[in-house]
């Protein structure tokens, strides 16, 4: 199984988790043409798409996906907010598990400025994947994760240095701090979890101005000793339960 990054960041987020037979779309926040292209136009092979929340950098292609016959799983608030009526829109609840083709998915609540879900995903090929984005902390720890797809939006140090408290950008700064995951909180989440089964840590949704990809990668590598990547368009990484 492999993970393909179609887009990551405030310009749009979308990922494909797939092997020869099974495909799961994670987020629909980029132009649908790009998603189709990344799927090699094999839309029929898509088992479903999971969407964290309504903001357009995560949800803008829901309509097209549904029209193409893809089942889209998200929270009821997010589905209602799309204004679309379709049997392809599947409302899911926190801490309940659902079957999407050969994938098992389990959403859980996150802390953003609108209702937002993270997802646990299980497939025999890649093992357990956790997907966390757009939250200022994770309320949960996770058992036996093989692959982490986790937001590392900003560094508190960079944010404080650039737009310190009292600067004219206080509003933006406060919004970032109460809706996105800092590298510091990302590291503490990884620290308290058992990473003995973990093969990959993929850092996503890095801010254009408040992050530093190389530094973030090093920090996580040093702390975890795992294979760490920073998501960028076109990146493909093997997501295998057993690395060898």
């Amino acid at each position: 199984m492999e993970l393909v990054v179609i887009g990551s960041g405030s310009q749009g987020n979308s990922y494909i988790l797939r092997n020869e037979t099974d495909t799961l779309l994670i987020e629909l926040g980029v132009n649908f043409k790009r998603i189709k292209k990344a799927l090699n136009f094999n839309i029929i092979d898509v088992d479903g798409a999971i969407v964290s929340h309504i903001h357009s950098d995560h949800a803008k292609s829901i309509k097209e996906a549904v029209e193409c016959g893809i089942d889209v799983y998200s929270g009821a608030e997010t589905i209602n907010a799309t204004g679309i009526k379709s049997h392809r829109l599947k409302p899911v609840e926190s801490k309940k598990a659902y079957k999407v083709g050969a994938f098992k998915i389990m959403p859980f609540d996150l802390r953003h400025d609108v209702p937002c879900l993270g997802f646990l995903i299980k497939h025999e090929d890649c093992g357990k994947v956790v997907f966390i984005t757009d939250t200022y902390y994770s309320p949960f720890k996770f058992a036996g994760i093989n692959q982490w797809i986790i937001e590392a939006n900003y560094s508190q140090e960079i944010l404080d240095g650039k737009d310190g408290y009292g600067s004219s950008k206080t509003f933006l700064r406060n919004r970032v701090m109460t809706s996105h995951l800092s590298i510091e909180n990302c590291l503490s989440l990884l620290e308290v979890n058992d990473l003995s089964q973990t093969n990959n840590v993929l850092l996503t949704h890095l801010s254009d101005s408040n992050s530093h990809a190389d530094q973030f990668k090093k920090l996580v590598e040093n702390q975890t000793g795992k294979n760490v990547s920073v998501a960028e368009t076109g990146l493909t990484i093997p997501f295998k339960k057993r690395p060898f």
């Binding site: 608030e77 049997h87 899911v92 598990a97």
Partner: protein, 309 residues
């Protein structure tokens, strides 16, 4: 009221009374030991009573009563500060701000004037705004270094320009000294940028002249108080607290990375179809995303009803 809510309210009330009586006892102990002299016309009992009433109605950003969400020590400290400064919450001289599970006591500009009058020999103080088109001139006295307004002429036209160029506060001390604190609008703006919160408040946007006068009054009074003999009482009042950062830190400490969840522990559910779900959650739909639309439709209904009558 459900039994549970009733119980919580009772607990909060009891906590409130406990804290105020503890603070009162402490104040009395300070007074008896000669460590604290309160102004003659000031009643700590009344101040604490009004603080108690105010706190019972104050909620934090999550809508939770501060008496429950803030630590006991921080509430006691906030109340103690109020009394030590000799301020009255019911006169708007202090207000209470909850953040990161703590309660902070913040002095308003009227509170600053009261403190300056009490402890720093302030006799009178008056602030004015300088508007675009005003004829305003000030000078610095070579010997004393004090500023002096030479003249300030306003016209209805200049007041109406609504463009603030600065503000000043003229004050007289008990010993007859007259001085003035002057701030340009860029200095005032910088001071507003230090404010907690998301940008300028509606008050700053709609009544910038009033807010500019408050800013210059605060600056004048704080300088006076800090140089007075009782300045020690006033030490940490002006520190800038980064409330959002503190709140986030507190939230993360309290709530992050707690329970472990495992996908293996949960059996599959059948997904409800879309129609069923929107029937199930009409309230959350309105609350979360379509509030403005809903309010609009309600407003539209009102005039129709009026016509019907």
């Amino acid at each position: 009221m459900s039994t549970e809510t009733k119980k919580t309210t009772e607990v909060a009330k009891k906590k409130q009374t406990d804290i105020t009586s503890t603070v009162l006892k402490k104040v009395e102990a300070f007074q008896q030991a000669g460590e604290l002299r309160l102004p003659k016309n000031y009643s700590p009992e009344n101040a604490l009573k009004s603080a108690q009433l105010m706190l019972s109605e104050t909620t934090d950003k999550n809508g939770k009563a501060v008496m429950e969400s803030c630590s006991r020590t921080s509430i006691a400290n906030a109340l103690l500060k109020t009394v030590v400064w000799g301020l009255s919450p019911n006169k708007g001289q202090v207000y209470f701000i909850p953040y990161a599970g703590k309660l902070e006591c913040s002095v308003s500009y009227t509170g600053n004037i009261a403190i300056a009058k009490r402890y720093a020999g302030l006799k009178r103080i008056k602030a004015n705004c300088v508007m675009k088109g005003d004829d305003f001139e000030f000078e610095v006295d070579n010997e004393s270094g004090r500023k002096k307004i030479v003249h300030h002429k306003q016209t209805l036209e200049s007041i109406g320009s609504e463009k603030i160029e600065g503000a000043y506060a003229v004050y007289e001390l008990e010993d007859g000294t007259i001085d003035v604190e002057i701030m340009s609008f860029s200095q005032i703006s910088k001071s507003w940028d230090q404010r907690q919160g998301n940008g300028l408040s509606p008050a700053h946007k709609n009544f910038p002249d009033q807010m500019a006068m408050k800013t210059v009054l605060n600056r004048a009074c704080k300088l006076l108080v800090r140089t007075s003999d009782d300045s020690i009482l006033y030490d940490d009042e002006d520190k800038n607290i980064d409330h959002t950062k503190e709140d986030v830190k507190h939230d993360v400490k309290q709530n992050a990375n707690k329970d472990t969840i495992d996908i293996d522990d949960v059996e599959y559910e059948e997904v409800d179809d879309e129609v069923k779900s929107s029937e199930k959650t009409p309230e959350s739909k309105d609350k979360t995303f379509e509030k403005p639309a809903k309010e609009k439709s309600e407003n539209q209904e009102d005039p129709n009803q009026a016509k019907a009558f």
